[in-house]
């Protein structure tokens, strides 16, 4: 069953890549980013983490993998981020929220809606964190190389 799900995640990421027209040569890399991120989310939830924490860790992984790949392959990081995080999107939670709201179960709906929003926020914040760290590293390296020039 897990193998089937991994194949499904690979297909989702690759199809997102096709829809958003990322360069064909990079489809495999982008899809693998999606699979790794989803596996991180899956196993973190198996050991008992909430979906918010699991998605946060997985999306940090997406950001790190995307920034590394974009440096190595000299392509924009967005190409790897989008197929990477789409399998993490809490579509099921969002749908359940709508269902509760329509049925008039507002308390459940608000609780589920909060979880959906927090999960989405965790994904966004995970990408934010990894991109910020990479930016800091780049700026630090530039500073250091400038100081080096000054001394010599």
């Amino acid at each position: 069953m897990l193998v089937l799900k991994i194949v499904a995640v690979f297909l989702i990421s690759a199809s997102i890549g096709i829809l958003y027209r990322i360069p064909r040569k990079l489809l495999v890399y982008a899809s693998l980013v999606g699979v790794v991120a989803w596996l991180i989310m899956y196993y973190t939830m198996l050991v008992g983490a909430t979906i918010v924490l699991a998605d946060f860790l997985a999306s940090i992984a997406v950001g790190v993998m995307a920034e590394v790949l974009s440096r190595v392959l000299k392509k924009p990081a967005t190409i790897f981020i989008i197929p990477g995080f789409i399998p993490l999107v809490p579509g099921g939670d969002a749908y359940t929220t709508m269902l509760y709201m329509v049925k008039g179960k507002y308390v459940d709906g608000v609780a589920m809606g909060m979880q959906t929003v927090l999960t989405g926020g965790a994904i966004a914040f995970g990408i934010f964190v990894s991109a910020t760290i990479f930016r800091l590293i780049i700026n630090y390296n530039i500073e250091r190389s400038l100081q080096h020039v000054d001394k010599s």
Binding site: L19, R21, P76, T78, V89, G91, Y95, V102, A131
Partner: protein
């Protein structure tokens, strides 16, 4: 590089057109704000101008270049319809790197850029419908759907792509595609459940709304905010939120009618 634009035989008008076109292509196809500004700056500097100022918002590109003699020229490009084509962004990015490294000259760069802006990339309707369907079917698998639910999710997500194809002809109408897509997906799910009550509507609807997730808007909003482009970041974040709301409204209306 510092011997001035006249020495290279390129006029200020040509430089500003080249960089402006590069910025316009990138903005039209969904690049981050800082990437567009940096690309335009690098391209203009590589052509030998003394100073470049660029300003990009989600609906337009502004660029001023000044040559060593102190003359300056400004262009503005208004961008109305935006699509998503990350292949073009990667190509313009690559072109600007080659121009900066002097591996390509102005005339070649201009010809290639015009090709990029005109060429048809990506896939035609049917393959992208299959791709969209695969997103829906795959998500239904992740939701532990049974075979026929996965199949229905595949069809629903393909329908979303077809609606996108029809609605894309109506330029300047925002969010109607997401709304109609949500309605169509929810109708598919409700129909399946009505015809075969042992099958659930849930995996179909969850799978079907997946292709409607505004992935580029979310990613660009985050990356713009980190880079300090607060204006673009906020408006793209708002775009993502409104898109999600439109999808939810479409689904909710059908669900409410169905009960």
């Amino acid at each position: 590089m510092s011997d001035g634009s006249e020495a290279l035989g390129i006029s200020l008008e040509q430089i500003v057109l080249l960089s402006g076109l590069a910025g316009e292509i990138m903005l039209k196809n969904g690049a981050e704000t800082y990437r567009i500004e940096e690309t335009m700056d690098h391209m203009a500097k590589a052509c030998g101008v003394a100073q470049v100022e660029s300003f990009v918002i989600p609906t337009g590109v502004f660029l001023t270049v000044t040559d060593p003699a102190g003359r300056s020229l400004t262009v503005m490009r208004r961008v109305r319809d935006r699509t998503i084509n990350l292949d073009r962004i990667a190509k313009v990015n690559e072109l600007s790197r080659r121009l900066v490294d002097q591996r390509i000259d102005y005339a070649n760069a201009n010809a290639i850029l015009n090709d990029i802006s005109r060429e048809r990339t990506g896939f035609s309707l049917f393959p992208s419908m299959i791709a969209s369907g695969a997103i829906g079917g795959g998500t239904a698998i992740l939701q532990n759907g049974v075979f026929f639910e996965i199949l229905a999710a595949f069809v629903a997500a393909m329908l979303v792509r077809y609606i996108a194809h029809i609605v894309s002809r109506l330029h300047g109408v925002q969010f109607i595609f997401e709304f109609l897509g949500g309605m169509a997906v929810a109708s598919c799910g409700a129909f399946l459940h009505f015809m075969w009550p042992q099958l659930g509507a849930d995996p179909v609807i969850i799978g079907g709304i997946m292709p409607l997730v505004p992935g580029v808007a979310i990613t660009n909003a985050i990356r713009d905010v980190i880079a300090g482009d607060l204006l673009s970041g906020l408006s793209r974040g708002m775009e993502a939120a409104l898109t999600s709301a439109a999808v939810a409204m479409g689904v909710v209306i059908v669900l409410a009618l169905n009960l």
